[in-house]
Symmetry: C2
Subunit: 97 residues, 2 copies
């Protein structure tokens, strides 16, 4: 089964940046400790320093699905909701090489 | 020094897909064999199966710059040129977490 990647774009309200950072930091630590098939899960930011981009790479579509079903991920995603200036955009990519 | 990531979007001419694939496959093999500070260098494709997206993660801005200066990378990038339907777009991202 091919790898799958996801690019998540997040516009965070200026006054919610610190709150977002603490949530996502805990989320990343949890994933890196508990999801061996999540090969990459990192927070980046575009050059203008505006939008955040999560780069995520999973060993398989099943691994991506398992990630999405974990309650700790869902709970933290709900916490991020009020920090958003615009809805999250999620681009799903098929791993080729 | 923080990690840096790059998302490269490539629209490939339909009749050049096989040619592109063979060039990028060699490019990826070269990078994985010779660039220990290139932490991720993988080819993905969007869900519609149209555009390719290279996801690249470098240990530092210096590592990204060193990658870009390698002659084998430049030579293969030149080979990809005629395969493109539209100019390549490159998004540079600052690694945060």
């Amino acid at each position: 089964m091919a790898q799958v990647a996801t690019i998540v774009t997040l516009d965070i309200l200026p006054d919610k940046d610190a709150e977002f950072r603490s949530i996502i930091e805990a989320m990343i630590a949890d994933v890196r400790a508990n999801e061996p098939d999540t090969l990459l899960y990192c927070l980046t930011r575009d050059a203008e320093g505006g939008r955040y981009r999560m780069l995520e790479l999973y060993a398989s579509a099943d691994a991506a699905a398992a990630h999405g079903k974990r309650e700790t991920i869902r709970a933290r995603a709900r916490l991020i909701g009020p920090c958003l200036a615009t809805p999250v955009t999620i681009e799903k990519l098929e791993g080729i090489l």
